[in-house]
């Protein structure tokens, strides 16, 4: 299985609301691509357009070599002819059918033989570790089990492309972790090109080959998770990705390699920056010390929030507030003096006006 999904200049409006604004995206074969963004950013609309459940009002979509949608040619294949599988947010299992009927529904439409269908049901249930559940009605299963059945239903008819619309958002935290593991495994084994919608950045970062971050119908950045996290293309992506949130500080470039933040100056190694900028500092990239260190800036610990594996410290200098993340349970006390060191290699600079990343 090696199917590319090519999305060209896709636009979609709902009345006056722009859901998709000229989105172009190539999803390479066998990759796991996540559409990430806050609610209303157009990610689900994009998925539904690919599935054929919505008709865009501009652009083209190819699945493999097949043109499934083209506004300019007036082509729109129905979902059933696009050879894709879709897992819905609320699973959409048919409540009046038992598990086996839910799974064989599509197979009956493909007119598979009885034995083949039985085989497929068994295989699919085994793949999601739900053997022996053939005779249950959806309402007789937990949310996590329903989720697995929804997955099995998709696997059984062997689509070329997997589409998933926030499939884990209705599960509790623990189950979600388990399902992430399983889904990633499943993708690893099947190699099916997967388009996955989520608003959960951790989910996106943990599972994806590539992440497409969207906002108000516009594609903000399409890259591997590493790049998305460490080199967000603009202030929106920087702010959206990362927990705790990135520190964004207004400043003015002063001299060759320093930015004046008002209270203090910070060293940078980006050379083509000038004028007003925003400095992006990841909380874990700030080094904290309880003793004065050369080059460090003195702050005071406003609040200390340990959470087991790591601790979050809110540091203040006048009205300037920074979030810092350290490993382990911090020994720092509230209102204690602390000294912060900033690493010029790990900080990002953004143009104040456009909000775009300034690359060196």
């Amino acid at each position: 299985m090696s199917t590319t999904i090519t999305i060209k200049n896709l636009s979609k409006h709902f009345g006056k609301v722009v859901a998709l604004d000229n989105v172009s995206l190539v999803i390479e074969p066998e990759t796991f691509v996540t559409l990430l963004g806050p609610s209303g950013c157009g990610k689900t609309t994009l998925l539904r357009c690919v599935a054929g459940l919505e008709d865009p009002d501009g652009g083209e979509i190819y699945i493999g070599n097949k043109l499934v949608f083209s506004y300019d040619q007036g082509i729109s294949l129905p979902p059933g002819q696009r050879e894709l599988g879709l897992v819905f947010q609320n699973y959409a299992l048919w409540p009046h059918m038992k598990v086996d009927k839910n799974i064989t529904f599509a197979l009956e439409i493909q007119k598979l033989g009885k034995e083949e269908m039985q085989k497929r049901v068994k295989e699919a249930l085994a793949e999601v570790k739900m053997e022996g559940y053939e005779d249950r009605y959806p309402r007789e299963m937990s949310g996590g089990q329903q989720q697995r059945i929804a997955l099995a239903r998709m696997l059984a008819y062997r689509p070329k492309v997997f589409l998933m619309d926030e499939p884990l958002s209705n599960l509790d935290a623990r189950l979600r972790m388990d399902m992430r593991t399983e889904l990633k495994r499943l993708h690893h084994i099947s190699g099916a090109t997967t388009l996955y919608v989520t608003h959960d950045q951790v989910e996106a970062l943990t599972m994806s080959t590539n992440i497409a971050v969207m906002k108000e119908g516009v594609l903000q950045q399409f890259d591997v998770p590493d790049k998305i996290y460490h080199f967000p293309a603009n202030l929106f992506v920087a702010d959206f990705i990362g927990n705790p949130k990135v520190n964004l500080l207004d400043g003015v470039v002063s001299g060759e390699n320093s930015v004046d933040l008002g209270k203090f100056k910070i060293t940078i190694d980006t050379f083509n920056a000038a004028g007003s900028v925003v400095v992006g500092l990841r909380p874990e990239d700030i080094v904290i010390s309880t003793q004065p260190v050369p080059g460090a800036v003195e702050f005071s610990a406003y609040s200390v929030l340990p959470s087991g594996a790591d601790s979050t410290i809110i540091a203040r200098l006048g009205d300037l507030e920074l979030t810092i993340k350290v490993m382990g349970i911090s020994k720092i006390k509230m209102d204690e003096k602390i000294w912060l060191t900033f690493n010029p290699h790990t900080l990002n600079l953004y143009d104040k006006e456009s909000g775009n990343l300034i690359t060196s």
């Binding site: 459940l53 300019d72 040619q73 409540p95």
Partner: protein
């Protein structure tokens, strides 16, 4: 909209693409179904309304007797001038309109008082036996609306009609005065006792959905009980009350049975009886002017109400169950309230039926001796002395035919109503937010604002003659089916929409992704999931059609006679006992139908049928 990129394609290709896109839109299931429904509703509602108006502004053949040089078919304002001015306007239009208004306002207020109080007692007090009261409270509505009028006549009539005394005169020894026997007072009471069910259902639902905490909050702030009722409870149930007002008012405005039975003897005409009178006299143009006046009145009322309810309507959605609901303690009056309610329910349910039954067992009306008791009207042989020579009802093949007509009509109407419900529900819900969907929903709502008798008049106007591809349907059974289905369109659409809303769109979309075509999706997903909703819709339509009178009274002919209209013809013919036998049969059929609803459709209920 974003500025579209300037296309470099040649014109012919662009044309091809846009026609393909249009075809794609046109052939999507919801659009096809919407267009079919629009076409159907155009024929069933819009054209008849147009014909109705057209008839009033053109010369009719009948007018030649009055204006010999008129050209039939030419435009004229003759009917409007005649019906709205001078002495004829007063007699034919303004006085009946005034009467209709009096009755509608009176019944609505009385029904509100009864229904509201009952609802409060059942939902918010510790009165014993509330469950039973709750179940019995809807019975008067299930019975035909003119049952009470007939029973009233049996009890209170004086010798003005038929020259025989009523039960009252027999018991008291003195004839009741005319105002008690006939006219507005009994009509208002009988209508109110039938329609209070609307208020009972709406207000009790609203009261149930109010969280007592809201009232307790007021209580804690030291507000008096009366103040809490006035400032907190009342505003919250106001939308429910106003919905009840709309329904009751427009129903009573168009109601025919009660005014015909209790109004005619003292020449107390309302618009509904006047429409029929004019039509019977062949004055189609005049009758239709009255029908239009009635429609305009109904629309105005609903419009005013809608404006009043306006944003408040949204309160109705406050809700769900599981609220804390505290109950007022009636204390030492507990028993007194209970007895009052029981007496009331006996008076409006058992006594009328008992009176009708007694009446059917009397050989000669008004003769209250044991020797006069007989089964002649039920199973008696043909006897020229009684009932214009007709045999007892149960031996009368004509009545069997009539009963079969009623059942057949109710079944067919229920079937088509349910079917259209599926189609309308799908077309409206799947297109939510589009103009097409709104148009379909609004068109389906129109019959709701047309009073029953006017709707019947509309259909006479439409189908009395051949019109385009439609043969003259007047006098056919098909016409009765069509008019009943059309009048039920609003209920179809409402029950269809609520049934379809319960099926999440993903369930159908999952079927689309799996490659199922429209028919497979309907058969295997949508229909199984909405079946129970449509079943209760089916049975409820069956009941309401069975006892519908105002709608079909203008359209039945001897060969398409129905039980409901048969009672009216017997009454008018002076065969009151025969009429009452037929009413009792009708009640038995309707109650049996209601029983079946409770039995076979889990969750199906009158509430659902009323679109709540």
């Amino acid at each position: 909209m974003a500025v579209p990129a300037i296309s470099t394609q040649p014109f012919s290709q662009r044309l091809l693409a846009s026609s393909r896109r249009f075809l794609h839109w046109l052939t999507s299931t919801r659009v096809v179904l919407s267009l079919i429904m629009l076409a159907l509703m155009f024929v069933m509602v819009i054209i008849p309304l147009y014909k109705l108006v057209e008839t009033t502004v053109t010369w009719q053949a009948h007018d030649l007797t009055r204006v010999p040089d008129a050209v039939v078919g030419e435009l004229t304002i003759f009917h409007w001038v005649r019906m709205l001015t001078g002495i004829i306007g007063k007699i034919y239009t303004y006085t009946p309109l005034q009467h209709s208004m009096t009755i509608a306002v009176g019944s609505t207020l009385l029904a509100l008082l009864i229904g509201g109080s009952l609802a409060w007692l059942v939902v918010r007090t510790d009165m014993p036996g509330r469950k039973l009261v709750n179940q019995l409270a809807v019975l008067p509505y299930i019975m035909p609306s003119w049952t009470l009028a007939q029973a009233w006549l049996v009890f209170f009539k004086n010798r003005l009609t038929g020259g025989t005394p009523g039960v009252f005169e027999f018991l008291v020894g003195q004839a009741p005065p005319n105002w008690l026997s006939y006219g507005p007072v009994p009509i208002i009471i009988c209508s109110a006792l039938h329609y209070y069910t609307f208020f009972f259902l709406f207000v009790s639902a609203a009261l149930m959905s109010i969280d007592s905490n809201l009232e307790e909050a007021g209580d804690l702030m030291g507000a008096s009980r009366w103040r809490i009722l006035r400032k907190i409870t009342l505003p919250l149930v106001l939308p429910a009350i106003l919905s009840g007002v709309i329904m009751t008012f427009s129903k009573v405005m168009g109601t025919f049975g009660g005014p015909n039975i209790l109004g005619l003897p003292v020449r107390y005409y309302v618009v509904a009886t006047m429409v029929r009178g004019s039509l019977a006299a062949g004055e189609g143009g005049d009758a239709f002017v009255l029908a239009i006046v009635l429609i305009l009145f109904a629309i105005t009322t609903i419009y005013i109400n809608q404006r009043l309810v306006g944003t408040r309507r949204s309160y109705e959605t406050i809700g769900g169950r599981g609220f804390v609901s505290n109950q007022s303690k009636l204390g030492k009056y507990k028993r007194a309230f209970q007895i009052a309610v029981i007496v009331f329910q006996i008076l409006v349910i058992a006594v009328p039926i008992g009176l009708l039954l007694l009446n059917t067992l009397m050989l000669i009306d008004g003769n209250y001796t044991f020797g006069n008791l007989t089964l002649q009207h039920w199973i008696g042989a043909r006897d020229t002395h009684y009932n214009s020579g007709e045999p007892g009802v149960l031996l009368n093949p004509k009545i069997w035919q009539t009963a079969w007509n009623s059942i057949k009509l109710s079944l067919l109407t229920a079937f088509f109503t349910a079917l259209l419900g599926i189609v309308l529900g799908y077309a409206i819900v799947k297109g939510r937010g589009t103009r097409l969907s709104k148009l379909v929903e609004q068109l389906a709502y129109i019959p709701y604002v047309i009073p029953g008798i006017a709707f019947g008049a509309v259909y006479i106007a439409m189908f009395a003659r051949k019109l385009g591809p439609f043969p003259p349907l007047y006098g056919t059974f098909a016409l009765l089916v069509i008019v009943s289905v059309s009048k039920h369109l609003p209920y179809s659409s409402r029950s269809g929409v609520s049934a379809m809303m319960q099926v999440g769109r993903e369930l159908e979309e999952a079927g689309m992704v799996a490659g199922a075509n429209v028919w497979q999706r309907f058969r295997r997903i949508i229909f199984p999931l909405t079946r129970s909703g449509f079943m209760s819709g089916f049975l409820l339509t069956f009941i309401t059609t069975m006892r519908e009178l105002s709608l079909i009274i203008l359209l039945v002919t001897p060969s398409t006679q129905l039980l409901a209209s048969q009672t009216m013809f017997y009454t008018e013919n002076g065969d009151a006992q025969m009429a009452n036998v037929v009413i009792l049969i009708l009640i038995a059929l309707v109650v049996a139908g209601n029983f079946i609803i409770g039995k076979f459709s889990r969750g199906g209920s009158l509430q659902k049928g009323l679109g709540m």
